[in-house]
C-alpha cells in the first residue's frame, strides 16, 4: 500500500490524488512525486481497492492505469463516473494505444498520459484536474448557498432598534467572533446569521444550520460529528457530520439552549480545539468553522439552574445581537408588509399591489407574538384568500381583526375601553344588549361610555 496521511488530521489541503496502478513501483513513485507536490495521496492496486478508497475519503483527481488485471481502467472509470461524474480521471497507458485513450476520453476522462511518464507534464495535468474539481465543488457549494438565500433574505427595517442591529451585523461580520443571536421566535435570527455569513470572509464556504431543538438528543452527536461505518446499528455508511460540512464556513446552531448537558461538554471541546472524532471513529478530524448560535431562551437562568454549562455560555456569548420583537418596531411594519406583499404576489403570481388603509391599520396595531414570521404568514394568507388588487381587513387572519380595538395600549383601562367599544359596535349601539353581554348594568355601562368618550 502506498503512503497515506492517516496520522495527520484531515484539513482543507492542496487536494487529494488517488493513484490506481497494479505495478508497485509505478504506484510508489507517483505517490512520492505527488506528495512532494503537496497533495494528499493514496493508492490502490486494483479496481476493488480503488472503489474502497473512493468511498473512504474525498479525492480531487484519480490517476488510473488503463491495463489492470480483473476490472480494467475503462470499466473502473465507468464505475467511478457513476458515483461521482465530476471527479477528474487521468488515464495512464503503457501502449500509447490511441484507441483505448480515445475511448477513455469519449467516456469522460479528463486526459491521458503515456508511459514512460514525463513527471512535469503529469504535475501540470494533475494541477489542472485538481483545480477544475475544486472549482466544481465550490460552484456546488455556492449554488447551495444561493438556494439557501433564496428565502426572504432582505432585512427590512428603518427603525432605530433595527438600524443598531444592522450596524452590529456589519461590524461583526468581518471578524471571526462567535456570535449569539437572541430574540423571540420569528424575529429572524436565522436570517441575521445568514447575513453575517454572507458578509464574512467565509462566504464562499457553506453556512450549515443545525436546529438543536428538532434533533433528538440521541441523534445530535451523530448529526454534528458524523459517524463511521458500523458505528451503531443502521450506520451502514460513513457519514459526514454538520461540523465537517461547515469546514471553511459557518456552523449555525439554532435553539442552542435545548442541547443537553452531556452534549454541551462535547461541543465545548470542539469549539476550543476545532478537532473531533466521528462517532465510532478514532481518527481526529480537524475543522475550521465559525460558530453563530441563536436562542429564544434565558440562557443566564439556565446557567443559574445548572441546565446550561457556564463555560459553554461564556464561549458562545462573545458578541450578542438582540433582535427586537416586531411590536417594538412598529414603524417597520408598513415597510415589511409591502416588501412581503411584493415577494409573495410575485411568487404566487397574484396581482396584488398594496394594502387597503384599514388592513394596514390592523397590521400596525396588532401585537405580533409570532413576530416577522407571523406577519409573513398573514400576508401570504391574504394572497391566497384575498381578492386583488388590494389586501382588505377580512383577508387577514381573524385574530388580527379582533385585535384592532384592543391593541391601543396595554393598560387595563385601554383594554376595557377597547372591549366595551367592540361590544357596543357588535350590538349596533344597543346599550341594553351590550350591558347584558358585558355582565354589568346599564348605568355602569353608561358611565363607562361617558368616561371613555365612546359615543363621541
Amino acid at each position: 500500500m502506498a503512503v497515506q496521511r492517516q496520522e495527520t488530521p484531515i484539513s482543507r489541503d492542496a487536494g487529494g490524488v488517488l493513484v490506481v496502478d497494479d505495478e508497485f513501483s509505478m504506484r510508489d513513485s507517483l505517490v512520492h512525486w505527488f506528495e512532494k507536490d503537496g497533495y494528499r495521496t493514496g493508492s490502490a492496486q486494483d479496481a476493488r481497492e480503488a472503489l474502497q478508497r473512493l468511498e473512504e475519503e474525498p479525492w480531487d483527481a484519480v490517476l488510473l492505469d488503463i491495463k489492470m488485471p480483473g476490472m480494467d481502467g475503462l470499466e473502473l472509470q465507468r464505475r467511478i463516473r457513476d458515483v461521482d461524474p465530476s471527479l477528474p480521471i487521468i488515464m495512464i497507458t503503457a501502449f500509447a494505444s490511441v484507441d483505448s485513450a480515445v475511448q477513455a476520453l469519449k467516456e469522460g476522462a479528463f486526459d491521458y498520459v503515456t508511459k514512460p511518464i514525463d513527471p512535469d507534464e503529469l504535475s501540470h495535468l494533475v494541477r489542472r484536474a485538481v483545480e477544475r474539481h475544486r472549482l466544481h465543488q465550490e460552484n456546488l457549494q455556492l449554488r447551495q448557498k444561493v438556494d439557501q438565500l433564496a428565502t426572504p433574505t432582505t432585512i427590512v427595517g428603518a427603525s432605530g432598534p433595527m438600524a443598531r442591529v444592522l450596524e452590529l451585523v456589519r461590524s461583526v461580520a468581518e471578524t471571526d467572533s462567535t456570535v449569539l443571536i437572541r430574540g423571540e421566535s420569528g424575529t429572524g435570527k436565522e436570517l441575521i446569521a445568514q447575513t453575517i455569513h454572507a458578509n464574512s470572509r467565509r462566504r464562499y464556504f457553506p453556512i450549515v444550520p443545525v436546529n438543536c431543538g428538532s434533533v433528538p438528543e440521541s441523534l445530535l452527536e451523530s448529526e454534528l460529528f458524523g459517524h463511521e461505518k458500523g458505528a451503531f446499528t443502521g450506520a451502514q455508511y460513513r457519514r459526514k457530520g454538520k461540523l465537517e460540512m461547515a469546514d471553511g464556513g459557518t456552523l449555525f446552531l439554532d435553539e442552542v439552549g435545548t442541547i443537553g448537558l452531556p452534549m454541551q461538554v462535547n461541543l465545548l471541546r470542539v469549539l476550543e480545539t476545532k478537532e473531533f472524532t466521528r462517532v465510532g471513529g478514532a481518527k481526529p478530524v480537524h475543522v475550521d468553522f465559525r460558530v453563530i448560535c441563536a436562542t429564544n431562551q434565558d440562557l443566564e437562568a439556565q446557567v443559574r439552574d445548572g441546565t446550561f454549562r457556564e463555560d459553554l455560555y461564556f464561549r458562545l456569548n462573545v458578541v450578542t445581537i438582540s433582535l427586537p420583537p416586531l411590536r417594538e418596531r412598529r414603524q417597520d411594519i408598513p415597510l415589511l408588509a409591502h416588501h412581503l406583499l411584493k415577494k409573495y404576489a410575485q411568487d404566487m403570481n397574484r396581482p396584488f399591489t398594496g394594502f387597503d388603509p384599514a388592513a394596514m391599520d390592523l397590521l400596525v396595531r396588532y401585537n405580533w407574538p409570532g413576530n416577522v414570521r407571523e406577519l409573513a404568514n398573514a400576508v401570504e394568507r391574504a394572497m391566497v384568500v384575498g381578492r386583488p388588487p388590494s389586501v382588505h381587513p377580512e383577508d387577514l387572519p381573524v385574530r388580527l381583526n379582533e385585535s384592532s380595538a384592543s391593541q391601543t395600549g396595554d393598560s387595563l383601562a385601554d383594554m376595557e375601553r377597547a372591549h366595551v367599544g367592540m361590544i357596543l359596535e357588535r350590538t349596533g349601539g344597543n346599550v341594553t344588549r351590550a350591558a347584558e353581554i358585558l355582565g354589568i348594568d346599564r348605568v355602569t355601562l353608561y358611565n363607562k361610555i361617558k368616561k371613555y368618550h365612546l359615543r363621541s
Binding site: 420569528g186 407571523e374 404568514n377 377580512e394 381573524v398 381583526n401 357588535r426 350590538t427 353581554i437
Partner: protein, 188 residues
C-alpha cells in the same frame, strides 16, 4: 340564502353518515341547501412533512380554486387530518373572513386524541359547533366574548363543549344585517 353550502370531504375517514348528518343540521341552521360533493384536487400539496400536519390555508386555497365554477355560496371542507396555521401548533379550522371557504378538522375533536374511548356523539357535537363557527367567520363574524355563543374562540376541545351551538343575539343581529337568516339561532 339561495345558493347553499357545499360540504367537501378532504381525507375524511369517518363514516359518510357523519357528513350527511352534518349536512342535515347545517341545512336547518342556515336555512340553506346543503350538498355533499367530492373534491377535484389533490390535498397532499397542503402536507408539511416537517410538522406532519396539513396547512389549513393551503386547503382553503384548494377549496376556493376547486369551487370557482361552482354555484354554492359557501364551501366547507371537512377533514380527518390534523391542521395547522404556521404560528399555531394546531387549529380546529380556518375560514375566509367574510368570504366563501372554510375548513374544519375532526382530528383533535375526537375523544381518542386525548386517550379516551371513542365517543361518536361528542365528536359530532364538536364538529357541528366548529362547522357553524367557521361558517360564521365566512359571514363576517369575529370571535365573540359571550361564553354561550358558538362564535366564542376555543383553543382546546373541552372549550368547545362549554360553548353553545347557536349564535348569541349580537352575532345573530350581525347575521341579520347580512341577510343570513339562521334557524332560530337563538342563544340558549
Amino acid at each position: 340564502m339561495a345558493a347553499g353550502i357545499d360540504i367537501v370531504p378532504i381525507y375524511f375517514t369517518d363514516r359518510d353518515e357523519t357528513l350527511r348528518r352534518l349536512g342535515g343540521v347545517l341545512e336547518l341552521d342556515f336555512r340553506a341547501g346543503v350538498r355533499l360533493r367530492r373534491p377535484w384536487f389533490d390535498p397532499e400539496g397542503a402536507f408539511d412533512p416537517s410538522r406532519g400536519q396539513y396547512r389549513a390555508t393551503s386547503l382553503l386555497q384548494m377549496l376556493l380554486e376547486d369551487s370557482q365554477e361552482d354555484q354554492a355560496e359557501r364551501v366547507l371542507g371537512v377533514t380527518s387530518v390534523d391542521l395547522f396555521a404556521p404560528v399555531l401548533t394546531y387549529v380546529f379550522g380556518e375560514a375566509q373572513l367574510n368570504g366563501r371557504a372554510a375548513v374544519v378538522s375532526c382530528h383533535r375533536l375526537r375523544a381518542e386524541a386525548y386517550g379516551l374511548p371513542p365517543d361518536p356523539a361528542l365528536l359530532f357535537q364538536r364538529l357541528h359547533k366548529e362547522a357553524v363557527h367557521e361558517l360564521g367567520h365566512t359571514y363576517g363574524l369575529l370571535h365573540c366574548p359571550d361564553v354561550r355563543c358558538v362564535m366564542r374562540a376555543s383553543s382546546y376541545a373541552e372549550e368547545i363543549e362549554l360553548k353553545g351551538e347557536r349564535f348569541c343575539e349580537a352575532c345573530r343581529a350581525l347575521l341579520a344585517q347580512r341577510n343570513v337568516i339562521p334557524r332560530a339561532l337563538r342563544s340558549r
